[in-house]
Amino acid sequence: MKLELAGTIDVLIAFLLAPLLPGIINRVKAVCGGRRGQPLLQCYHDVIKLLKKGAVYSRTTSHVLRAGAVIAPAAMVAALLLLPVPGRRAVMSFTGDVVLWAYLLGVARFFTMAAALDTGSSFEGMGASREAFFSALCEPVLLLVLLLMGMHSSGGPVAALVAVALIIVLLSENSRIPFDDPNTHLELTMIHEVMVLDHGGPDFGFITYAAALKLWMYGMLFSAAAVLPVFRPEGWLPQTGVFLASMVVFAVIVGMVESLMARLRLTRVPQAILAGGALCVLAIAFALR
């Protein structure tokens, strides 16, 4: 295991800038739809407002609901220590650290699902059920993507395949549009958002912030998948510059996908994830040659 204390700066950058990503995505969507859209910093306002509130709990709920809201951000922060900015080292790095990273996200998801079931609401049960289904299918694709990224293959078709598979996984895992709609809080279409219906106050602030951190981390993965096969930036400033630029590109891509695509029918979602798996298998075949 290697420790890199300079990496804490990257963690701080993530803490500060993570809520900006949803803002950029929403702005892109607004521009594409011919609207002005919400402020870029909306997510910051939301989190701060929520942290200032009191709380209301259903009498059905137990400590599990309260624990879920605490464990999710904690798992995200722990996971953040394992991801590097392209060209640098993460705070902690060892063989197989990406596996731990993926499973830390799994912890957050498990407790969010448990918290949803804790409310006894059938809507939240439905959300948890779908989340469980899609994330179980995403898991092998994500692990294969991480495996492929760890192989440090050259550019070309392999890198493109990996990037596309990664985008499929990250859209599904972050409840973005072709898989889930982050804006429809009260529709039966949604998956992730419905699970947190009964969270309020600071708990919901934690959950929102954790979701932003998760999106940020997937952005870091995307940045690594897109930048590293092309070149390896040297020096702190260029690395940071390239990284932040790629994050903006990432947010724009997600925003464009959301603007251009309709939500998939639920029966189509597993197929899309399976297609991501097929891309990974293909990429492995090419990468090993």
């Binding site: 295991m1 009191g54 709380a55 709990y57 259903s58 009498r59 059905t60 709920t61 137990s62 400590h63 599990v64 605490v70 464990i71 951000p73 904690a74 798992a75 722990a78 220590l81 394992l82 902690m92 790095s93 060892f94 063989t95 197989g96 650290d97 596996v99 731990l100 499973y103 799994g106 998801r109 498990f110 699902m113 448990a114 949803a116 079931l117 804790d118 409310t119 006894g120 609401s121 059938s122 939240e124 059920s129 469980a132 289904f133 994330s135 179980a136 898991e139 092998p140 692990l143 294969l144 495996l147 760890g150 009260l186 219906l197 009964d198 600071p202 639920l266 597993p270 990974c280 090993l288």
Partner: protein, 612 residues
Amino acid sequence: MPIGAIVAIAGCIAGIIPALHVLVSALPVKHPAGILVDQLSAFFLFIILFVSALCALFAARTEKRPVTWFFFNLLVASMALTVCASDTILFLISWETMSLASFVLVIDGGARKASRDAGWIYFVATHIGTAFIIIMFMGLGAFPGANGGFATVALVCALIGFGTKAGMMPFHVWLPEAHPAAPGFVSALMSGVMIKTGIYGLLRAVTLAGGAPEWFGWLLIVAGLVSGVFGVVYALAQHDLKRLLAYHSVENIGIILLGLGTGFVGLSRGNTALAVLGLAGGLFHVLNHAVFKGLLFLGAGAVHHATGTREMDALGGLIKKMPWTAFTFLVGAVAISGLPPLNGFASEFMIYFGSFGVLRGGDMSLAGIAAVSVAGLALIGGLAAACFAKAFGIVFLGEPRTKQDQARPVTEAPPEAVLAMAVLAASCVLIALLAPLGIHLLAGPVSVVFAGGGIDIAQTKAELARAAGAYTGVAGIFALLLIFTALAALLRHVLLRGRRVEHSAVTWDCGYHLPSPRMQYTASSFAQPLVSFFRTVTGTLRAYERPTGYFPGLSRFSTRTGDLAWDKFFAPVFSAAAAQLGRLRFLQQGGIHLYVFMIMLALVALLIRVFW
């Protein structure tokens, strides 16, 4: 406390110390009566005794009948003897004793027909397994050191025989029948510990056959993937809590076999890292599965004891009445899903670690194994998390789905039971956090299996030391995760101090004004998307009477998930066999003289054959 429980606990504690001594000091204990405790035996012995002691503690207050305790102790003793026997006959005797003792415990569940049927399925399955094991021993005994055809047959027989005991698909059919039928602490013992003797036997058979060829490793990998993925898929489709747990044993045996398989392939390919880490990962998972599956079955037993039902769709909200059981069950659920910061992740990580290391080597088919095992483990992990979110969420969270307190109030399990579960739950945490310090202990058992395979103990230790480096990181993150969680909880506490916090609102159900507990999501509805996605495998049958008309009456919906291996293979084979063997009925006339006559006839025929 019943004397049987005291004897069991005292015996187990007395045995654990020498077992640990052998494991740490690497000095095998030998006795001329056919006993040899080397590090592999000691490793399994430790698991058996540790979990058995806690199972006995769990039932110390609730189980009163001496008969049960007699067979419980017999089962523990025979398991311990099985892993210590160095003599074939002694091994088979203790193996058979183990099967019979557990059979009695399964049918002991009362006069219910379901228990007896389950018992008979178990009885037949385990003896078919034993038959294959005897063939294996005869083959290896008649042709020691043989290679080619005989070794192939012997290894396949070993896999079928020991695989039946371990619950490997498609020979797992007895598990989902026998485990629910037995009382909770017995199913914890059977599922957590007894099926592991199958893994032990498999490893011994491999060393006896002089090592495993590469195809055997591949076979194990395929068997592991099939058991792992389909085990968890079947588990998802279950409504019965203990049946669900039984299918998860099939899944975890799959993970163990996957580890062993990658280990053997790595060995025959000369890849030390893959060999050591695969096998060590499999063995580590044997320990971890014993701990968390024991815990989960004890929790399920406590729930069954308190509520009188195992039907998940009838339960709910138990966390309020049984907080300790719920908390320890949650720990077990997170552990079995392979999630940090618990021990389930620790052992799966070892297999991942070996697989990630292979990719740099450039060996195409080894990299293929790595990719297959990584994808397989990830899929199994994801599905297991889904399944345990369901099991924990439906049984312990929400509101009760039916009235539970009718016969007697639902209360927390007795203190002994809670203590047993708490110790197991604490072990889940401790094993994970102490893994960097403790995994070098696996070098002993691994080197026993690899003795003569070209990997010496120094290499094994070096590989495990390399893994220990990564485990330091893992344990560090585990600790940080716990610290961050505590900090976040503290932050929430500080934020909410002095503000208005309402604890008695009604769950908001999108404007519907008469929510009732019956409207909650159930285990079946939670698993429905996944089950219908895998319906070609599970063959789930649905029966649905739709509500019709303007004033609909009662409507009905039910699903039933059979078992493909049972429905399509064993049931037809057995009924065909029964039909054929029915023709021999004429021999069974009921008169004793006829039977004596037939015995004599057989003796005479044998004598003639011998002296011809």
